[in-house]
Symmetry: C2
Subunit: 241 residues, 2 copies
DNA sequence: TAGTGGTCTAGACCACTAG
DNA sequence: TAGTGGTCTAGACCACTAG
C-alpha cells in the first residue's frame, strides 16, 4: 500500500511482530542481511529501523544487533485541565478571591518556599449544569514589585498564562485522591456532611532548574469527576506533544 | 558535549526553542540553509530534524518548511496495574470464585456479546496492610470446548496471560470514577454504610479487529487509591512503550 | 578478526508550494 | 519557475562485540 520503500519494509516487519513470528527479545536480521532481503540501500533499511524504534517495536545494541522490544502495556495517557474533564461541561468560572499571604506548611513544601516568602492564592469556583461542581485554588510564588497578577487574571486560564513563558521547559505532575473535605470547602460546594470529594493536585515544575512554578488544588464533586485514559497506539508514540 | 554532529545541532536548536528565540509556529531555516549554517551534509541536518520531530519540538510541511510545534502540556502519563498502584503495597491476591455465566447487560455491551453468549467471571480479593483493599472482577468471553481457564488461573496476573498472546495489537482503556458500591461489594470489602469507593474499569481491545478481549472492574477502597501522573519529558517521547 | 550498528558525505530525482 | 522537504543510493570510517 505505501509507496515509499522504507514504509513497506516497516509494514512487513510489523506484520512479523504482530503475527508472532518475531517475538520480544528476538534479534532481527543484521542491517546488511535486510539490505539483501529487501534489495535496498543501507540508509533505507536504517530509516525503516528508525521508525520501528520510534514506535517502540525494536531497540538496538551497537555491535550486536536490533531486537524486538517487549511492549509496556501498563502505561496510560489522558488529558486534564480545568475545562475538559468535568461532567457536565464547564459553563462558567467565577473568581472568588485573590490574596497575597504567608504559605501554609504544605504549600511551602510544594513550592519550595521559605517562611518569609509570600504566595499568591487564587480561588475560583467552577460551574456546570447550573451548580458549582469544583473549587480551584491556585498557589504561585509572589514576587514583590512585580504586579503582573492583575494582567494574568484577565486570562480565562491563569496557569496557562504562566506556562506560556516556559512551555518548552515545563513538567506537570498530577495526583488524584479521594478525601473528606473540610467544613469550608463543604460550604462552598454545598456538600453533605460525609460527602467525599475528588482531590486533584497539580504542580508545574521548570525542568531546567527543577523549581516549582505553581501548585493548584481542585476539589471536584465526586459525581462530576470521570477520568478516561488509554494506552497510546504504537503509531501515536511521537504525536504525544 | 555530545560528539555526534547531529546531536550538537539538536542541542543548539533546542536551546533556541527553550530560550524563546524560536517560538511556536515559527519556521526554521530551510534544510539547505541549515547545511550552510552548520557546515554539514543534508542527511546530517535531516537526522537532527528527525530527532527534533520525534521529541515533539518541530513538524514539517513538505514543500514549505519545518515549523516549531506548540507543546501539548495537558497530556499526562501514568502506570496502572493490579499491583503497583495500591496503598499500602499488595501482599496477597486471593481467588474468590471462577464462574461461567450469562453476561449482564453492561458486560454484554462492554464485550460486544450476544444474549446467548457466555462469559468467564473471575473474582479476586486484593490484600494490603493486613486487610482487603480491593476487589477485582474480570470478565472475558467464554469459548466452549476450550478449557484453558485453569491454566490461565495459575498465572498470578490473569489478564497479563491473555494479553501476552496479543501484546503488539492491543489497546487498553481505563476509566476512573467514584461511586457508592452495592451491598455485596460493601460486604466483601468491609465498608461502612455510606462509604464511597473508587471504581476503575479496564477494557483490553484487539486493535486489528477492534474487538474487546477482557473487561475488568476494580473496586478500590478510597484510602487505598492514589494516582500520580506526569507530563512526559520531551526526551522520553519515544520511550513510552 | 569478522561482523555489528552509528555517523557522515555527496550526490540524485521526486512531488509539492508559492509567486 | 525556484525553492522546499521526502526518498533513495553507494560509498566511507568508526567504536563496539564476540569468538
Amino acid at each position: 500500500m505505501p509507496n515509499a520503500l522504507y514504509l513497506s519494509i516497516v509494514d512487513d516487519i510489523k506484520k512479523k511482530i504482530v503475527s508472532g513470528s518475531l517475538k520480544p527479545e528476538d534479534m532481527l536480521r543484521s542491517e546488511s542481511g535486510l539490505m539483501k532481503e529487501y534489495k535496498v540501500s543501507r540508509m533505507t533499511i536504517r530509516k525503516s529501523l528508525s521508525l520501528l524504534s520510534n514506535e517502540g517495536y525494536i531497540y538496538s545494541i551497537p555491535g550486536k544487533g536490533n531486537y524486538i522490544r517487549k511492549p509496556d502495556s501498563d502505561t496510560y495517557q489522558f488529558r486534564f485541565n480545568e475545562y475538559d474533564n468535568l461532567v457536565p461541561e464547564v459553563e462558567e468560572i467565577k473568581l472568588l478571591s485573590v490574596k497575597i499571604e504567608r504559605p501554609s506548611v504544605n504549600i511551602m513544601q510544594q513550592l519550595l518556599l521559605h517562611e518569609e516568602d509570600q504566595v499568591v492564592r487564587i480561588e475560583r469556583l467552577i460551574f456546570g449544569g447550573g451548580e458549582a461542581v469544583a473549587l480551584e485554588i491556585i498557589y504561585t510564588g509572589y514576587i514583590p514589585n512585580m504586579p503582573i497578577i492583575e494582567d494574568k487574571l484577565s486570562f480565562a486560564n491563569f496557569t496557562k498564562a504562566i506556562e506560556l513563558k516556559h512551555s518548552f521547559s515545563l513538567r506537570k505532575e498530577l495526583t488524584i485522591k479521594f478525601e473528606l473535605p473540610d467544613k469550608e470547602i463543604r460550604g462552598k460546594l454545598n456538600l453533605k456532611e460525609h460527602e467525599n470529594i475528588c482531590l486533584v493536585s497539580r504542580k508545574t515544575i521548570k525542568t531546567d532548574t527543577e523549581s516549582p512554578l505553581t501548585y493548584s488544588i481542585f476539589y471536584i464533586k465526586k459525581d462530576s469527576f470521570v477520568l478516561t485514559a488509554k494506552t497510546p497506539e504504537h503509531d501515536e508514540g511521537k504525536k504525544i506533544f
